[in-house]
């Protein structure tokens, strides 16, 4: 594959997958700018190895998730979010379902990058535990424990979710 041919095929791939990848990046970061930065960084890494990739889709996904989890360390320069241990304030004038979604999204912000990535892979991309472990480069046991911790942390941050979950 020549250099121009490589660029053309890469740009075709990136254009075709851009929308879906933006959504995943946004779920992983929660911020539009961070999502764009993460996705561009991941695609640059894909471009570096484009001519040797056999499964660009899988590699892109892997780079995106591993970059998202490692960016926790790299983005420490961002002002740290103050964690209060208190649930987010609930908007008073919204319907209960909307309220739950907003509260849940705010709670997602408080998870670690890895916990968040595990939830996105498991419950947004509908991957199995084994597939999730393969993408993140960790063991299935780690995926299980991260999932468990993430859910329990969400419950701790949003006690009313637990009440809803046990409601008949």
């Amino acid at each position: 594959m020549g250099r121009d041919g490589g660029r053309t095929s890469f740009e075709e791939f990136a254009a075709a997958r851009w929308g879906a990848l933006v959504r995943v990046a946004y779920l992983l970061t929660g911020h539009p700018q961070d999502a764009e930065d993460l996705l561009q960084s991941a695609l640059e890494r894909v471009a570096m190895r484009w001519s040797t990739l056999e499964e660009p889709e899988a590699y892109t996904r892997k780079v995106l998730y591993t970059q998202a989890t490692s960016r926790w360390r790299r983005l420490r320069s961002r002002p740290a979010e103050a964690l209060t241990g208190q649930p987010p304030e609930r908007p008073a004038a919204v319907q209960r379902e909307v309220e739950t979604r907003i509260v849940l999204e705010a709670a997602l912000e408080r998870l670690t990058r890895k916990q968040r990535a595990v939830l996105v892979l498991r419950f947004y991309e509908d991957l199995s535990e084994a597939q999730t472990a393969e993408v993140l480069g960790c063991s299935v046991g780690t995926v299980k424990s991260q999932t468990r911790h993430a859910l329990s942390r969400l419950r701790a941050l949003n006690p009313h979710l637990l009440r809803e979950a046990v409601r008949p």
Binding site: L27, R73, L151, A165
Partner: protein, 397 residues
């Protein structure tokens, strides 16, 4: 609850901003790849240069040479150097009392005063090492090692032959190229490598099989090659030449304060009169040579006119009743010891001292240092990446 999470994630994904795909991602990726390669190459060069630079900056350990008034006790037994023994180049000795090697192309073990052991890697050739009588210099295929500094001076291709009895001259052969053996026997000052004198070699057949010894007072020089013995005076004048069934008994073949010269003929050590080259007293060595080896017997010292002879593994004194003075660790290809200012105590030696802690484990420290440097380099790359990501985020904001 997982259903709620699933729904929340899907709704959140649907609300993801519609970002346009920026142009030039592919080019930036290729540039990034180029930068990484350049950084990697620079890192390798940097680490290599830093390692070389720091090695050069390490202080050279120098010990004070043994004082002429100090007489050292010779060990009655030497053993193989313990593992992780320091190199004499890193941890010099005041002098070497004993030097031995089991293979000529391997490692020489040096034993200094008070059971201090050091090792010295020789060149990968079959050049036989030679220890000076005062124990300060070791001549090998690598060059001339000063035991008190650990510095090796190259011999520029000259072949080691021996030292004068007082240790002030190093004798080397400088052969001419060609099928005929010719060239010079050169005497140099081992301390600074300065040329002192030379004797021309008469052309002769191959191989390069030359032995040389200088009388303790420097007045005579004996040279053997191919069963012939030449004796020169200090001015380089040939005194006599005779056929000989044997070879010179090492660099200390001249008997101190006597006009005699020791030669080895098979299992006999015979003394020749230096006035006329006539034969005299002979010692039978056959009863002591219990170990088969290629190394020839040689005189390693004299005690009141009686020879101390290297018997390949052991050292035997022929003063009165022959007595074993030193026992080696096994069959050796090379065994030498200092003959000046030593006392044969016949006391059991202490445990071998492998040298100062840092010098003993220097290789480990160097490896650890290399790992730390690499870790620092990787850390610097991570910081650089974080700085660039933060800068890009600030630009986007």
């Amino acid at each position: 609850m997982t259903g709620q999470v699933r729904t929340a994630l899907s709704e959140m994904a649907e609300r993801a901003p519609k970002l346009p795909m920026p142009p030039g991602i592919y080019e930036r990726g290729r540039k990034r790849q180029g930068r990484q390669r350049i950084l990697g190459a620079l890192g390798v060069v940097f680490l290599f240069g830093l390692g070389v630079g720091l090695s050069a900056m390490l202080p050279v350990a120098v010990v004070v040479p043994a004082q002429p008034s100090v007489i050292d006790d010779m060990p009655s037994r030497v053993v193989n150097a313990p593992k992780w023994t320091a190199s004499v180049e890193e941890a010099p000795l005041p002098r070497a009392l004993v030097a031995f090697a089991q293979r000529l192309d391997g490692e020489v073990t040096l034993v200094g005063p008070h059971d201090q052991y050091r090792v010295y890697a020789t060149a990968h050739d079959q050049t036989r090492p030679i220890l000076s009588p005062d124990g300060r210099f070791l001549m090998t295929g690598r060059g001339l090692l000063d035991v008190t500094t650990g510095v090796t001076r190259s011999l520029d291709g000259d072949v080691p032959l021996g030292f004068s009895a007082d240790g002030r001259l190093a004798l080397v052969a400088r052969y001419d190229a060609g099928d005929v053996v010719s060239g010079q026997i050169r005497a140099i000052d081992p301390a600074d490598g300065a040329f002192v004198w030379a004797v021309e070699l008469e052309p002769g057949p191959m191989p390069h099989d030359v032995g040389v010894a200088v009388a303790p007072d420097g007045s005579l020089t004996a040279i053997t090659r191919h069963a012939e013995l030449w004796l020169y005076d200090s001015g380089g004048r040939l005194l006599w030449k005779r056929a000989m069934d044997g070879e010179l008994a090492g660099q200390l073949a001249f008997v101190p304060e006597r006009r005699s010269l020791a030669v080895v003929t098979g299992e006999r050590l015979c003394l020749l009169d230096t006035e006329k080259g006539e034969g005299g007293l002979c010692y039978d060595l056959s009863g002591f040579s219990t170990h088969s080896t290629d190394a020839a017997h040689e005189v390693l010292g004299w005690q009141e006119g009686w020879p101390i002879v290297n018997m390949s593994r052991d050292v035997v004194s022929f003063q009165g009743v022959p007595e074993k003075l030193l026992e080696g660790p096994g069959e050796l290809s090379f065994l030498g010891f200092a003959s000046e200012r030593v006392r044969w105590s016949q006391q059991d030696p202490g445990a071998p001292d492998g040298g100062p802690f840092f010098e003993r484990f220097l290789d480990l420290f160097k490896a650890a240092f290399g790992v730390v440097l690499i870790a620092m380099y990787v850390r610097a790359l991570v910081w650089l990446g974080a700085w660039r990501a933060a800068a890009r985020t600030r630009t986007n904001l």
